[in-house]
């Protein structure tokens, strides 16, 4: 992987909520086209780390860069100060996010959900954005739901719209925050299939998941987090055949 373009670079990231330290020094590098699955028990800090990458959470120390740009902060001397809202917003256009609870805009149709970012934020021409959104929606199997409001879509359909919404921004990186945890088993398959396709096509993805089948098949690298630290990382083969760390073995034995 040497020489590959680095999309996300995290270095010694610390984060506390009050007196509870949830990230105790996370360092991780993701190269272009890679799919990283972050696994680990709940409370291990996976989701918090993911939310730090697009600055939905502030970090206490360390640094996170996406495409070589520091996220959320500006370097001032040897200190980091929080960046302006406008700059943070601009950086987020590069980072798609798919949420556990979908978070579609309920007052907008499926199509409007997908075109909202490109039209309002990227200043894309409306006709162009609509064409692109229709293409993305048919790609996730929802060509017939273009004018439907989220309230009339099933969970799986909503999540697929959310994926299309993230893709419409043409981000350098997409974060998936337990994207299938709120879905029923049938819908999980649909959503994982689309995520697998994206991974296969070379989208750079960081996926927080409990779906070990997905991690095994789609991930280039699996990262195990526990108690605010990365305790083991490696290829899926390494992970699911011969994990090294006792904590990883215990976790996998429980979940598989």
């Amino acid at each position: 992987m040497t020489g590959a373009e680095i999309v996300m670079h995290a270095e010694d990231v610390h984060k506390s909520f009050g007196r509870l330290e949830v990230l105790k020094g996370i360092s991780l590098e993701v190269t272009k086209g890679e799919t990283i699955c972050i696994i680990g028990p709940s409370g291990s800090g996976k989701t918090t780390f993911l939310r730090c990458i697009n600055h939905l959470e502030k970090i206490d120390s360390g640094r996170i860069e996406v495409n070589g740009h520091l996220i959320g902060y500006r370097q001032r001397g040897d200190r980091l100060v929080e960046d302006s809202e406008r700059n943070i917003a601009r950086q987020r256009t590069q980072i798609g996010m798919v949420f556990q609870r979908f978070n579609l805009f309920p007052h907008k149709t499926a199509l409007e959900n997908v075109t909202e970012g490109p039209i309002q934020v990227l200043d894309m021409e409306k006709r162009h954005a609509v064409d692109k959104a229709k293409m993305l929606l048919s790609r996730v199997g929802l060509a017939d739901k273009v004018d439907t409001y989220p309230g009339k879509l099933s969970g799986g359909q909503q999540q697929r719209v959310a994926i299309a919404r993230a893709l419409a921004m043409q981000p350098a990186l997409i974060l998936f925050d337990e994207a299938t945890s709120a879905l029923d088993p049938e819908a999980i398959g649909d959503v994982l299939y689309i995520m697998g396709e994206l991974a296969h096509e070379g989208m750079t993805m960081i996926v927080v998941t409990h779906e070990m089948g997905f991690a095994r098949e789609a991930a280039d690298r699996v990262v195990m987090m526990d108690d605010g630290l990365i305790i083991e990382e490696g290829t899926p083969e390494h992970f699911f055949v011969a994990p090294e760390h006792a904590r990883t073995k215990l976790f996998l034995s429980k979940i598989l």
Partner: protein, 258 residues
């Protein structure tokens, strides 16, 4: 002297169906004072609500003191103070003249209304799921854009029903500005009464207030129905919304559920 229950139907009939042309000027005054005060009150309430949620502490304090003072003192006192403590201009827009007292009245009613609207708007914004702001930010929106395009349109569904009730109140509360000499509907009735000493002029003006609030009930039901179109499940029909608007108890009891 009139007997206790005697109602002079002739005067009611005349005042309601064949009012003097001067009456329409006072009706117009009531209507424009209500609309402008309510609109400005919503705007002030929105600003105060945003200030209340600001990261900048002094803005939160200002918002708190504003609501504390204007909800904690009588609106009549506010009207008098604002009218007599400052000098207000009389404005001319072609045929339409807005006297200084009306300006002062509008200012006082707006500021008072803003204090009540702040709570209503804040409750509306609070009712929107936190994930909405995060989703908006994750497609690159700034706070302001996310508020305008994502949060406030959803908050509107929660804000509009109590806002409608506020406007209903506003139309009636405007009668207070008669005390600083604004010639509006109630002032007209009062003037007639002091000339002829016939209480039925008050009854007649009550009918006019009732007509205004009733027309508003229909408009409110229409607006709420439009807002509910994209909402699943608890879509109320036009008739159900009318019934809710007419019966304050049921609309209050259901208020929490939106």
């Amino acid at each position: 002297m009139h007997a206790l229950v005697a109602v002079d139907l002739h005067i009611i009939w005349q005042q309601v169906f064949h009012p003097h042309s001067v009456f329409f000027r006072t009706l117009w005054a009531t209507v424009y004072i209500s609309i402008i005060s309510q609109a400005a009150g919503v705007l002030l309430g929105l600003l105060a609500a945003l200030a209340r949620m600001s990261r900048f502490a002094p803005l939160r304090w200002i918002s708190g003191v504003y609501v504390w003072i204007f909800r904690g003192t009588p609106v009549l006192v506010q009207i008098f103070y604002i009218y007599f403590a400052f000098s207000w201009p009389t404005l001319h827009f072609g045929f339409w003249t807005v006297p200084d007292a009306a300006i002062a009245g509008i200012v006082a009613l707006s500021i008072n209304e803003g204090a009540y609207m702040r709570e209503i708007i804040r409750a509306g914004i609070d009712s929107v799921d936190r994930g909405q702001m995060e989703a908006a930010k994750s497609v690159g929106m700034t706070y302001g854009m996310a508020m305008r395009r994502i949060i406030l349109p959803q908050a509107a569904r929660v804000i509009v029903p109590p806002l409608g009730n506020e406007f209903n109140n506003m139309m009636k509360t405007t009668s207070l500005v008669y005390t600083i000499g604004v010639f509006e509907m109630f002032a007209f009735a009062e003037q007639n009464y002091s000339q002829f000493f016939i209480a039925d002029y008050f009854l007649a003006v009550a009918v006019w207030y009732l007509m205004l609030t009733t027309v508003w009930t229909f408009i409110q039901a229409y607006i709420e129905r439009r807002l509910a179109v994209s909402e699943r499940g608890d879509e109320l029909s036009f008739r159900e919304r009318l019934q809710a608007a007419w019966n304050p108890m049921t609309s209050w009891a259901r208020g929490g559920g939106g």
